[in-house]
Amino acid sequence: MNKDTVTESLRRFVERRDDLLHEDEDGFNLHLSRFVELCERDDLIQSVLSPILKKCSPDVDAWWKQLSNNEIDFPSDPDEEFALRYSILQSVNQEPDKVYSFVFAFGKRKRDEGIELFRSTVLRPLVTELTNRVSKAANIVTPEERALQAVPLSRIPTATETRIFLSHKSIDKPIVMRYYNALKALGFEPWLDEPDMPAGTNLERGIFDGFEKSCAAVFFITENFKDEKYLASEVDYAIMQKRNKGKKFAIITFRYPNALPVPGLLTPYIFKDVENDLDGFYQLVRALPIELGQTRWKKEVVD
């Protein structure tokens, strides 16, 4: 049973139950037959009723006989009681005049009074129990689902402002590639000169464009990093972006063991001494102004 089937079952159940309990006595027989019909053919309700009716075999005739002697009694076992009440309901559905037994037993005179007594003494406790059991069954067959997320518009960046610029000396490429690959695998979009600047791109313009599309610049300060030439331009561009974008741009500086001094312009921003790549990566993800979305199954797992 899927969620839609269960929802539809419960909707019909509530509708027919309330008609049976509360609508005018004139339509009682019709509402009763519609309710019993639903109970007999609905899969969800049957999943509750069938096991109990198989297990218990109530003596409904004896119960009616008891009622004619002005006695109302039900078994103490909850399942036995439930099965007996349901069997009484079925028998009234088959022989509607049985409600007169309530009229006589309680010294009443009208059929309507008999119906009200039947509702109060037999039906209401039965449908209350059935409601609880059906409700539990519905919860079991509908598994927990993950929630979607509604994100405020102000928190949704455009596609052209979430790159992560990785600034480094060419000789440190192996270190930076490890960050690049890890960021990519997680779903971030790192910016690196080689893959992001096709042959023939003007270097200075290409780098500037990379900064324009980024929300962070990461500087890898090693013993090879010198604040000169293109690296000096990158430091300048990063500071410019920070001025323009404010909190939506982070300058993150990692100082590796034996590194040269951090360029003076970068010192006011986040800089960390990192022992290894894992430590650096942790610091990087923490410092980024963006975060990734909900956990989901990988496409190949569910296809």
Binding site: K3, D4, V6, T7, L10, R11, F13, V14, R17, D18, L21, H22, K110, D112, E113, E116, L117, R119, S120, L123, R124, V127, T128, T131, N132, V134, S135, A138, N139, T142, E145, R146, A147, L148, Q149, A150, V151, P152, L153, S154, R155, I156, G293
Partner: protein, 199 residues
């Protein structure tokens, strides 16, 4: 807890009747609501603190239909709370966004627990008065037989509430709602009205 007063205005505590009312939430404890404008259903998390504002508009409607009674939620202050429909953005008081089933349930409950017993008592007093005044005079003798049915209807049952719809976490205010499966055109948070997108 619901408090029923016999008439409007300031009442002393002994003039009121208190009774508890329960209503069904789904398995994740969400309350179903219906937008009065587009008629579509959604759900909000049921917060006991919001109970007064949920019930008060429904009570006003029952008071108008039945008359002569004043209903109020006994716990907490009633504060105006508004919701926006996640489908059509219609904005209304939280208590005006209840399902017709919920309103019927409340009405049946108040009728069963308060109004009918009161009417029965009234008739009972009236009947006793008539019985004791069976009289005769020199010209004619008559007896009045007073009889009435005091059987109460069965108590209404709330729920079960289907475990339908999809949960949505509102990152703007941290609240959760449920909307129809497959509906991704949410534009505003129904609770805080921040512009949002489901992504």
């Amino acid at each position: 807890m619901v408090k029923v007063k016999d008439e409007s205005g300031m009442m002393k505590d002994e003039d009121s009747v208190r009774f508890s009312i329960t209503f069904a939430l789904d398995k994740d404890e969400y309350l179903r609501r219906t937008c009065p404008s587009c008629g579509r259903d959604f759900k909000t998390q049921a917060d006991p603190a919001d109970l007064s504002s949920i019930l008060q508009p429904a009570f006003r409607q029952i008071e108008a239909e039945i008359g002569e009674i004043s209903l109020s939620a006994a716990e907490g202050e009633t504060k105006d709370q508004y919701l926006s429909c996640p489908y059509c953005n219609y904005r209304a008081e939280s208590g005006d966004m209840l399902t017709s089933e919920f309103q019927s349930y409340l009405k049946r409950f108040v009728m069963r627990e308060y109004v009918l017993p009161k009417i029965n008592n009234m008739f009972s007093d009236f009947a006793n008065g008539l019985k004791s005044s069976s009289r005769s005079n020199s010209f004619i003798k008559f007896e009045i037989k007073a009889d009435f049915d005091n059987t109460l209807p069965p108590r209404p049952i709330s729920g079960p509430e289907p475990p339908d719809m999809t949960k949505v976490e509102m990152l703007c205010c941290g609240r959760m709602i449920k909307i129809y499966d497959g509906w991704f055109d949410l534009e505003k948070c129904p609770i805080c009205e921040t512009e949002v997108r489901i992504i």
